[in-house]
């Protein structure tokens, strides 16, 4: 040991986990573990492909898997998801096919978004995962509007709105929390505080005692949650969604996380992160924490772990192969979908 902090274990007995997750806690944890391994496999593969020039851009979610998997598993099909940059796994957990996501990452002719958005900005309408822009914070308002519409149309469901710590400084964070609270809209504001807005640490983002603390000023409940603890995140998201669906109004959840990679494939964090950041992040690795707990409680052995890893490697390899074998978007698609009637006026 060279002074690096040790892994922070999940502080639960099996009974406590059962109490938080419900009677099917074991399949939930196994499913969560498989999705986390898939996510990590995908992140590793895509970062490598980006370095090789085979994918144009990639924003890894390494370190944020617990939130993504918990949100995916705790939400229901009738719920909506407005993502930020690192929530694509929520779409996959909700049923968006991995191969379809690969088509998006390669911006090919089978990308549902037709290759128009950068990688990691997928469109997954069939699982109510809304197409995102790269503008910070704008989607939080959309989530409130969709939540209003759910209630207005007497539809079941609630909305998960994701954004990072940097977004809490945006105009739209303020507008959305205010509108959402005034309207009592069925929305859960999910702030993934990975402590970095590219290079700016969260301590430079706000002087508030926490991001969750901001909720009080809008008249909302706000809670800080260990975002690397799958059990805690799952329980909090499920409770907040239930409150929203039952007319109890919105909640702000702040998930404290550790960004374990660069902001994106275009970023070099050695320019600004302290030298001990990586070691601190590893101590809060959500995948390692869950695996350690599963191992300690004899729910996962080395062979099972290897089988999951092999299955995920295979799934990612197949998806990448399918995408790389697909042609780019056809040129005629350039001017389509600008308007309902098709293209813009001029083509000459």
């Amino acid at each position: 040991m060279n002074g690096a902090p040790a892994l922070v274990p999940l502080p639960y007995s099996p009974d406590q986990v059962a109490a938080r997750l419900g009677s099917d806690w074991q399949p939930t944890l196994r499913s969560a573990h498989r999705w986390m391994i898939l996510a990590r496999t995908l992140d590793a593969r895509m970062q490598a492909l980006q370095r090789q020039g085979r994918v144009g851009f990639y924003g890894a979610a390494t370190g944020q898997e617990a939130v993504n998997v918990a949100a995916g598993l705790a939400s229901r099909p009738e719920d909506w998801v407005y993502p930020g940059l690192r929530e694509q796994l929520v779409a996959l957990v909700r049923g968006h096919p991995l191969v379809t996501y690969a088509h998006h990452l390669f911006a090919d002719n089978l990308d549902p978004g037709r290759g128009r958005n950068m990688p990691c900005h997928p469109t997954a309408q069939e699982v109510r995962y809304v197409s995102m822009s790269s503008v910070i914070g704008t989607q939080i308002d959309h989530a409130v509007g969709t939540a209003f519409a759910l209630r207005h149309r007497h539809e079941p469901g609630a909305v998960l709105a994701f954004f990072g710590d940097g977004a809490t400084s945006s105009n739209d964070f303020h507008a959305a929390l205010n509108f959402g609270a005034v309207w009592g809209a069925p929305v859960v504001f999910c702030c993934t505080n990975n402590q970095w807005a590219i290079s700016v640490p969260v301590t430079h983002q706000t002087a508030a005692p926490s991001l969750a603390a901001k909720a009080a000023e809008y008249g909302l409940p706000g809670r800080q949650v260990d975002g690397t603890d799958f059990v805690a995140v799952f329980a909090e998201v499920r409770a907040a969604l239930e409150q929203a669906r039952s007319g109890g109004g919105p909640t702000l959840l702040e998930f404290v996380l550790y960004r374990m990679t660069a902001h994106s494939s275009s970023d070099d964090p050695t320019r600004y992160q302290p030298k001990d950041w990586a070691a601190r992040a590893v101590a809060h690795d959500p995948v390692a924490r869950l695996e350690e707990w599963l191992g300690r409680n004899r729910l996962l052995d080395a062979d099972q772990r290897a089988a999951v890893a092999a299955e995920c490697e295979s799934a990612v390899r197949d998806a990448v192969e399918a995408a790389e074998a697909t042609i780019p978007p056809v040129p005629a698609s350039l001017t389509e979908d600008v308007y309902a009637s098709g293209s813009t006026g001029w083509t000459d």
């Binding site: 128009r116 958005n117 197409s131 503008v135 939540a147 509108f179 389509e336 979908d337």
Partner: protein
């Protein structure tokens, strides 16, 4: 038919749309009990209630941003921005989000929001209650931009906007909200987008004007007629989509063009019409294309009548075009 002012026609259009479809909702500042600062939503709160005529917190980005989310889940929101001068906090939502949802999602998330906003000068509103910045929105692919100039068109274009599938920026010429009255068809009256209105036929010069600039342009045409100059007046009504055929046909007939708008000249919408004519009607032109516009300054308070085009400045430009060749 009913004789209405332009703002009454907007009001009737909104009521018509809301009666026809429970998914149509209005949101904006002061639009509820107060009926809007220009009274465009007068009586609607009483008829449809606070869940469909929503007095929002004071945030334009919140108004448009939440309207987008409503539209993505099956509502047809009609957002009111109290003055066009206050639309800029929502500019990001309009150009980055609303205009691009259909495109970036490959057509899976079309986003139909109508944004109504009073625009333009002549009401002693100074810098921040007078601007006419349609060009910002015309420049952004994915938006439609509509500017009625009569009560009948205000209702008819508004109902078309509500039944359209694309986002619409609906600019209401507040200077003539009450200055203009006209017969408005009752019921579901719709005026198609992309079809210009031939306001006045003529053979010597084409005057292109929209919104609050149509009345002084017609006045100019009447003055020109006394001098034996037959001016044609064409109101495009929708800037996006633009009725290029009507504009070209008029200039092919008259050989001369004057474009009128109250927005600043530089990169204004008149430049687009001038470019269109230069590209596609060049050999029909007998004299240079003229633009009669606001100055390239911020909108002034005390000198707004100097800033704005009027019948005299429009007629002067038309005479110069006719005398040039």
């Amino acid at each position: 038919m009913t004789e209405l002012t332009l703002v009454q026609a907007v009001n009737r259009g909104l009521a018509e749309a809301m009666r026809a479809d429970p998914n149509v909702v209005l949101l904006g500042e002061d639009i509820g009990l107060n009926g809007g600062v220009f009274r465009a939503t007068e009586g609607l709160y009483k008829e449809f209630g606070e869940q469909r005529v929503i007095d929002t917190p004071l945030s334009e980005t919140g108004i448009v941003g939440t309207a987008i989310g409503m539209a993505l889940n099956g509502l047809t929101p009609i957002a009111e921005i109290q003055f066009m001068d206050f639309i800029y906090p929502a500019f990001d939502q309009i150009v980055s989000e609303l205009a691009k949802f259909r495109y970036r999602s490959g057509g899976q998330f079309p986003c139909h929001v109508v944004i109504r906003t009073p625009y333009g000068g002549g009401i002693k509103g100074g810098l921040y209650h007078s601007q006419s910045t349609e060009a910002y929105f015309c420049h952004t692919a994915g938006l439609k931009v509509v500017v009625p100039s009569t009560p009948a068109d205000a209702k008819g274009l508004l109902l078309t906007a509500v039944h359209d599938e694309d986002p619409v920026v609906f600019l209401e010429p507040k200077r003539i909200y009450r200055a203009v009255t006209g017969e408005v068809p009752d019921g579901d009256h719709r005026v198609p987008f992309g079809k210009a209105r031939l306001v006045r036929e003529g053979t010597d010069v084409s005057l292109f004007a929209y919104g609050a600039m149509v009345p002084p342009t017609v006045e100019a045409a009447e003055a020109l007629a006394k001098d034996g100059i037959q001016a044609e007046v064409v109101d495009p009504r929708t800037l996006v989509p633009l009725d290029e055929a009507a504009i070209l046909a008029s200039v092919e007939k008259t050989g001369r063009a004057v474009v009128v708008h109250e927005a600043a000249r530089f990169c204004g919408f008149g430049a687009e019409i001038a470019a269109l004519l230069a590209e596609k009607a060049f050999y029909s032109l007998k004299s240079p294309i003229a633009r009669v516009t606001g100055y390239d300054t911020p909108f002034p308070y005390a000198l707004e009548n100097l800033y704005l085009p009027n019948a005299d400045t429009i007629a002067h430009a038309a005479r110069a075009a006719v005398q040039a060749a």
